[in-house]
């Protein structure tokens, strides 16, 4: 069983100045795998995704894509940023945003051709947003904004999809669309990694969960990873009630004793 990993890190660490955001993370991500990246705010989830995407240089350790060292962003790795990082009052239409996913492919002096636009509309159809193609993005709801980002990602047609908090602040139909999309992309052999601080989503729509808090705490199937001990190590005791229906006194005492 030594098939090549699609994406892997070895002893990956990322520092910002004197502050360490990630330490000694070694993971492997295989084709056709959907991985939930779980941890509290500030745990380094976004940092790990950016390092995987080749956007942040590792302070130590390496990232490899299909065995080759990642030094800069690669078209095979599609990155979907958080919705909140974007100015939604910007004067561009839904179709304009989706076409930004074609930036690498078009020729400089010609505009986008009819084929580019058809592909963009097809991507919008896959997320149920084709009838909004001409709408200015400021008029969209949170879920619709997320769908536009997904359409842009689909248009890029990579082998790996890295999504930063795709479930945050979106409506239930969009959550279901995301789960369905992960399923289909997984069946097409794509690797999906998405960051979330929502434990319920992570256990429902991941083949595997990576629990992080500045270092890798646990990795494995959701049921095996989301144990009281692991979650306490990652979240510091506060999130346990959310996943354990019957709060065992021992856990409460344990958490209390730790403080």
């Amino acid at each position: 069983m030594t098939t090549a990993a699609r994406l892997e890190t070895e002893d990956l660490g990322v520092h910002f100045g004197a502050r360490s955001a990630l330490e000694a993370v070694s993971i492997r991500l295989d084709p056709a795998e959907t991985v939930g990246l779980v941890g509290p705010n500030g745990a380094g989830k976004s940092t790990l995704l950016k390092a995987l995407a080749g956007m942040l240089p590792p302070s130590h350790g390496v990232v490899r894509l299909d065995g080759v060292l990642v030094r800069r962003p690669n078209p095979a790795v599609v990155y979907v940023p958080q919705r909140t990082g974007v100015d939604w009052s910007f004067p561009v239409s839904v179709l304009d945003v989706v076409l930004m996913g074609q930036l690498r492919r078009r020729t400089r002096f010609l505009g986008f051709g009819a084929a580019d636009r058809e592909a963009a509309v097809a991507a919008l159809e896959r997320v149920g947003m084709d009838r909004f193609a001409g709408v200015q993005i400021g008029q969209l709801s949170g879920g619709q904004q997320q769908r536009v980002f997904l359409a842009r990602a689909l248009l890029q047609d990579g082998a790996v999809f890295l999504l930063d908090e795709p479930f945050a602040g979106v409506d239930i139909p969009t959550q279901e669309l995301l789960i369905d999309l992960f399923d289909r992309l997984g069946k097409a052999g794509k690797t999906i990694v998405y960051a979330t601080h929502d434990l319920a989503h992570a256990s429902r729509s991941s083949d595997r969960v990576l629990l992080v808090n500045r270092r890798l705490i646990a990795s494995g199937p959701p049921a095996a990873v989301m144990t009281a001990g692991n979650l306490r190590a990652a979240f510091g005791g506060q999130a346990i009630v959310l996943v354990e229906p019957a709060p065992a006194p021992a856990v409460g005492q344990g958490a209390g004793a730790e403080r």
Partner: protein
């Protein structure tokens, strides 16, 4: 009325002035689109002031003021980048430090000249009536460079302005495109100095673009409209200046500000007055609401690439 329009055009210095203000209005209007969308108004103002010593040094040495200004602009934009790399200071602090420092250096240098007051006034407020044919050619050439570069890199400039994280993930070099943008901005400012002056160039960068944003939701339309409003305000402002005998730079800026005021009040859909009217009419015409009605398949509006 015909006399009012034609009289100024008979004078050669006014002909030059009209060509200059149209060029400057269009160049600043176009690049101003990105200045407003990226929230870089303070940066634009700072660049205009910080390149001042470069202009003065060129003037004192008898060199080309454009070269002096450009060298100063590149130094200042690199300096701002370097200072904000230090994690303790924010970008606008860095801008503030270099803005004031550069401007003071310019004043110090020019105050050593004998014709101090007159020189300072013409730098700060512009001297549009003294524009020569050679100045016009230079302004036109620089303007062409700015507009062509903007057109060639429009997608990159747009993506960097809209979504920096995704731009970086797409393999764009953010630093390089930021510097390119600042260089274009510096060029636009430099060719505007003679026409509208150091102090008021900010208005040409921000006001027409802000007006255009109120009138459209499309970046391309906004850029064209902003250039048009800039040039148009320039022409009307010059006429007003000629006939009312007021300073030309101030007159141009006041016209641009007036146009902004009109758009703010009466822009279709978004105007302060018009949107109130529209709300009243909403129940009479619910079909105009894009989300209320189910668009037909033929309804899909695809902008031309």
């Amino acid at each position: 009325m015909t006399d009012w329009l034609l009289d100024p055009l008979a004078r050669p210095f006014m002909q030059h002035a009209f060509v200059a203000i149209v060029l400057v209005g269009a160049i600043c209007g176009a690049i101003g689109t990105f200045v407003t969308l990226r929230g870089l108004a303070f940066m634009g103002d700072a660049l205009a002031h910080a390149i001042f010593p470069g202009v003065v040094i060129a003037y004192v040495l008898g060199g080309n003021f454009l070269v002096g200004a450009l060298i100063a602009a590149v130094l200042v934009s690199l300096g701002i980048g370097a200072i904000s790399q230090n994690g303790r200071l924010t970008n606008d602090t860095a801008i503030g430090v270099l803005f004031a420092g550069g401007f003071a250096l310019g004043i110090a240098l020019i105050s050593a000249q004998r014709t101090y007051t007159k020189d300072l006034a013409s730098f700060l407020l512009g001297s549009i009536l003294g524009v020569s044919r050679q100045d016009l050619l230079l302004t036109g050439a620089v303007g062409l460079v700015v507009l062509v570069t903007m057109a060639v890199f429009r997608r990159e400039l747009t993506l960097v302005a809209f979504d920096r994280t995704f731009a970086q993930a797409s393999g764009l070099n953010l630093w390089a495109f930021d510097q390119l943008f600042l260089l274009l901005l510096s060029l636009a400012i430099v060719v505007s100095l003679q026409t509208v002056g150091n102090v008021l160039v900010l208005a040409m960068l921000v006001t027409p673009a802000a007006t255009a944003r109120l009138l459209t939701d499309r970046l391309r339309v906004m850029t064209a409209l902003s250039a048009l409003i800039g040039a148009g305000s320039g022409v009307i402002g010059l006429y007003v200046s000629y006939h009312a005998g007021i300073a030309s730079g101030a007159s141009v800026v006041l016209v641009a500000t007036g146009v902004f005021g009109l758009a703010f009040l009466f822009a279709p859909r978004t105007g302060a007055v018009t949107s109130r009217l529209a709300r009243r009419l909403h129940f009479a015409h619910p079909e105009r609401d894009v989300f209320a009605a189910e668009p037909t398949p033929g309804d899909r509006s695809l902008p031309a690439g």
